[in-house]
Structures are given as structure tokens and as C-alpha cells.
Amino acid sequence: MTRAQRLFWNAAGIVLFLLAWEIVGRWLGSRIIAPPSGVAKEYLELLRAGTMLSELASSLRQMLVGFGFACAIGMPLGILMGRVKWIERIMTPWIGMMVVTSVAAMVPLFLLILGTGFAFRATIVFVASVWYIVITSYNGARGVDPGLVSVAKSFGATPLQTMVKVVLPAVYPYLIAGARIGLVHAIRAMVMAEMFVILGYGGLIHQTGMMADTEPLIGLLVTLMAVSVAATWLLRTVGNKVAPSYEQRVAGA
């Protein structure tokens, strides 16, 4: 399939989806599911009122701190696990456990320990995203071509030099991928924690969900979707821009 053909079918799918939604929406009424035409009108209202965007901005700020910590700790930890045998062995069982544990189940506990403020929301986001970042970085570091490492060693490179010159470039795409996966989980966790304590953007979703008409609720979800899509896109683009040579080298290897 050529690019043009794919775009055509993409567009066809979206148009059909919106059309079906519009028909269903008009048929069932806005109390059950508002049609896209109604949502579009309401969306302008939401943008004008400003609450949606201001809540979103403050929620995202808190999320980014948790996510930043998750990257700062998860990436080095993942790389170390991939390169150092005993760290790998020590960490593996813990990560296996943490990944299957539902973050939602931890929310009531963290709420008791940390209250509702910044620390609470940042911690939930951290816990929800860090393990995915660790696992992806770990997989990347483990897969580094042993040939390259031994070449570096035979040229007298110190372990630190090997890390910076050989391992990091090879792991880089994995770090970006890990950050992308982690970000998806971070956004999920942010909304979940906020819905639970009825604060911030998630709290707004909860409160709006109690209204009779569904237009504003769908509007909030559309914004969330846009943020999520834009954030992953941004991470991918910036990641590729910052170190295109890494990407090529791995692709060529």
C-alpha cells in the first residue's frame, strides 16, 4: 500500500467513525452519548470558560515531575540491570511484582501516607511509569552487541568510556521508547489518581460526568486524547532530533 492509499483509508475510517457516531448520538440523545456536532459546539464553550485548560496545565505540571523522576531513576537503573549481572538478579523479582500490581490498588494507601498534594500525585505517576521505563532500558542495554563492547575493551576503554561511547548510543532508541511507554502510563495514572480524590483534571472529569448532558464530558476526553497523542509525538520527534546518529547506527547494525 502506498502512503497516499494508506492516508485515504485512514481518512475513510475516521469519516465513517464520526458519521456512525453522529447517527448514534442523534438517535440516542445527548444524555446517553452526544453526537460530534454537539461536542464541537460545546468544545468552544469549554475553551472559552478556561477551567478545562487551567486544570489541565496544573495537572500536567505535577505529572511531569513524577514522570521526570521516573526517567531519571528508571533509565540508569534499567541500563545497569542490563549490564551488571548482580543488579539484574536483585532487581528482576521486584520489577516482575511491581509491573503486575495495579496502581489503582495502591492509591488508597498512598493517599493515607502522602495526603492529596503534589507529593501524592507525583508519587503515583512515578510508581505507575518507572517500571516500564526500567524494563525497556534494560532490554535495550541487554541487547547491546557484545562484539562492540569487546572491541572497545580491547582498545583499552575504561568501563565508563565503554558505557558512554558504546552502550549509551546503542540503548538510546530504547530509552526514548521507554519514555514513550512510561508517559502513556503516567498520564493514565494522573487521571486515575485525580479521579479518585476528585481533584485537578481527573476531578473535573468526575464532576462533569455527573451532569445530565454528555457534551462537556466528551469534550474533556477529547482534550485528554489530544494531550496524550501530542505528548508521545513530541517525545518521538525530539528523541529523533537530538540524536539522529544513534538511530541510524542502530538501524544500520
Binding site: 493517599l111 495526603g115 507525583a122 548510543p169 455527573m210 445530565a212 540524536a243
Partner: protein, 346 residues
């Protein structure tokens, strides 16, 4: 490769910076009163009954020389209590019921005064489905409260038992603040909710709804919301001074409200979260003001903050909370702050 190293360094330093911001953000108190910013968590909605206390924080404290407080709205009462335990704020507008439970479980909490005495909450039901109390246990009838085990849940349980309805058979869900509860009732997601008296005209005008329960017809006095702080916080002399001043501001605001409908009207227009509050006239507010000030005595001039009153209500609180042992009111309730404030006010 240089880019990455620099980038990595930047990331680390940014993270450390953020971490330090997190850590040091709390040590913000100054010796100077005018620089002291009270962080308060108040409930999601402010209705008539809350107005004097909310006005006291916003205007009374600055009048005593403090900086304007930083107030955050927390919708769920359960979360409110937990946020004070987690030290997310200095002061919380908390629910007595969950506060008692927390204190019993070992949380270091002190109740320093009332946000208001008595209650303006009434239960409104969808009359198509609910004709009387017995209908509440019918299939498909859902009652929404703020949080399970909170005081409004307790307030409903007593009258249910009195009328021979098993509270266990009533489906109760928790959906947070009164604005959400009104929406949920109007959208027919739930069939009975507690709302504040000044929210009822709007609901009754929108369809077939009726007031099922008025607490002042059931209870002599129902104490609902209190000012909550943590015990260690109160031990600091500066904080203690602030606590006394909060009580002074609250009592002053109570007294002004009882004397002057104009003051109440002004504050209501400024601080009420109800839709269209800013356009309400004193004349429109008069019935609510009279009911709360005169009939319900919700804003007592002397604070009416006594341990015995809590004792009378213990059975009600116990009916919804799994209390592991007898609540220790002496440990939780600190009347010395209000007494000090009364002495200073004269």
C-alpha cells in the same frame, strides 16, 4: 555524544532541583505574621451555612494582620481528612465522623472548632421512585452521599432505623461534593441525595422532587464540619497563635452574620459556589439567613464548641463507621483554642 551527556546532566540537575523544591516548599513559614500564608483545604462547595467561616478565612485573617490564605477545594470528605493526616495543608474543613475514625486509628489530629453548628443539609428524593423512607431500599434506588461513613451518611442512618428501614439494604454510593450530587440527582443517576437547603429551590423547580428528610426535625443539634489540624502542627507556638486567630476570625464572622443580613449577603455573593450567587439580593437570601441564624442557630456567637455535644451524636456516627473501640473525644477535641479566642474577643 556531547549532546547526550549535556542532556543527561541537564535532566539530572532539573530533577534534583525539582526534588529540592519539593522538600523545601514546606519550610516556608516566616516569623513575620504578615508573611504567614495559611494553607487551607476547604470542601468543594460553599453554601449558605459555610459562608461565615469561609469569609473569616478570606477576610477575617487578613484583618488580623495575616497574608491572604491559600485555599484549595477538596471535594471528598474522606480525602479531606486524609489530606490533613498527610500534612498536605495546615487546616482542613473536615467531617467529624471520618475524623473520629482516623483519631481512633492513631492519627495525630486535633479538632479546634466548628465550621458551623447544626446542619443545613436535607435529603431530596426523586418522587417518581421514592415516596417515603421504605422506598430507599427498593431495587434500582441509589442514594448518593459525599463519602461512605461520613456525617451525612450518619445523618440518614438514624432516621432510617427509627422508621424500621434496614440501612444495610439501602444502596449507598459516594460521589463527592454537593454540586456533583445535585447533578447526579437531576440526571437520574441516583434517586436521593443530601443537599444544602439553599440548593433545593432550584432542584424542586426542575421536576418531580421532594424533600424527604430535614435533620433539624430529627436531631436536636447535628454537628457536621469542624476545623481540623494535626497535633504536631498545633504544638508549634506560632501555629497555635494562628489557630486562635482562625477561631477569632470565625467567631467574629459568626457574630457579624447574626447581627447583619447585609454582611451575610455580601459574603454570600462573593464566596458561594452556587450558580447565580453573585446576582442574589439580600431580600432573596433572607429566608435562608433567618432559618440558619435564628432557627437552626448554625453560627453561635460563642462557637458552641463543647465535648458533650459530640457525645450525644456518637451513636449516629457509630452507626456508619466500624469503630474498633470507644472514641476518645478528649484526645481529638481541643476546646482550649476556642476558649482562648473567646477570652481575647471578650
Amino acid at each position: 555524544m556531547k549532546t547526550t551527556r549535556r542532556q543527561a546532566l541537564g535532566m539530572v540537575s532539573a530533577t534534583v532541583g525539582m526534588g529540592m523544591g519539593l522538600g523545601f516548599g514546606r519550610i516556608g513559614f516566616a516569623q513575620d505574621k504578615s508573611k504567614r500564608v495559611l494553607t487551607g483545604h476547604i470542601l468543594g462547595n460553599s453554601l449558605a451555612i459555610h459562608i461565615p467561616a469561609i469569609a473569616a478565612l478570606n477576610e477575617g485573617l487578613p484583618a488580623l494582620g495575616y497574608a491572604p490564605p491559600k485555599l484549595t477545594r477538596i471535594d471528598s470528605m474522606q480525602v479531606m481528612t486524609q489530606s490533613i493526616i498527610g500534612k498536605s495543608a495546615d487546616l482542613g474543613e473536615a467531617d467529624i465522623s471520618s475524623t473520629l475514625q482516623a483519631s481512633l486509628a492513631g492519627a495525630d489530629l486535633k479538632v479546634i472548632g466548628l465550621v458551623y453548628a447544626n446542619s443545613s443539609l436535607v435529603f431530596v428524593a426523586n418522587s417518581d421512585k421514592v415516596k417515603d423512607f421504605a422506598d430507599l431500599k427498593k431495587e434500582g434506588v441509589i442514594v448518593a452521599v459525599n463519602s461512605k461513613g461520613d456525617w451525612m451518611h450518619a445523618m440518614l442512618t438514624g432516621p432510617l432505623v427509627k422508621r424500621g428501614v434496614d440501612p444495610e439494604k439501602v444502596t449507598i454510593v459516594e460521589i463527592g461534593g454537593s454540586a456533583s450530587r445535585v447533578q447526579a440527582l437531576l440526571a437520574n443517576r441516583v434517586q436521593a441525595v443530601p443537599v444544602h437547603i439553599d440548593q433545593t429551590p432550584d432542584i424542586l423547580a426542575k421536576g418531580n422532587y421532594k424533600i424527604l428528610l430535614k435533620p433539624w426535625e430529627e436531631y436536636k443539634l447535628f454537628i457536621a464540619e469542624c476545623w481540623l489540624v494535626s497535633g504536631t502542627w498545633l504544638q508549634n507556638p506560632e501555629n497555635r497563635r494562628l489557630a486562635v486567630d482562625i477561631q477569632k476570625a470565625t467567631l467574629t464572622s459568626f457574630r457579624k452574620t447574626n447581627k447583619d443580613l447585609g454582611y451575610f449577603g455580601n459574603c454570600y455573593r462573593k464566596y458561594s459556589t452556587i450558580k447565580g450567587a453573585a446576582q442574589m439580593t439580600d431580600e432573596q437570601l433572607k429566608p435562608v439567613w433567618e432559618l440558619l441564624s435564628k432557627t437552626a442557630r448554625a453560627w453561635p456567637d460563642d462557637g458552641n464548641f463543647k465535648r458533650e455535644q459530640f457525645k450525644d451524636l456518637l451513636p449516629a456516627y457509630k452507626s456508619v463507621g466500624a469503630f474498633p473501640k470507644e472514641p476518645d473525644l478528649d484526645r481529638l477535641i481541643d476546646t482550649s483554642i476556642t476558649e482562648q479566642a473567646l477570652k481575647e474577643l471578650g
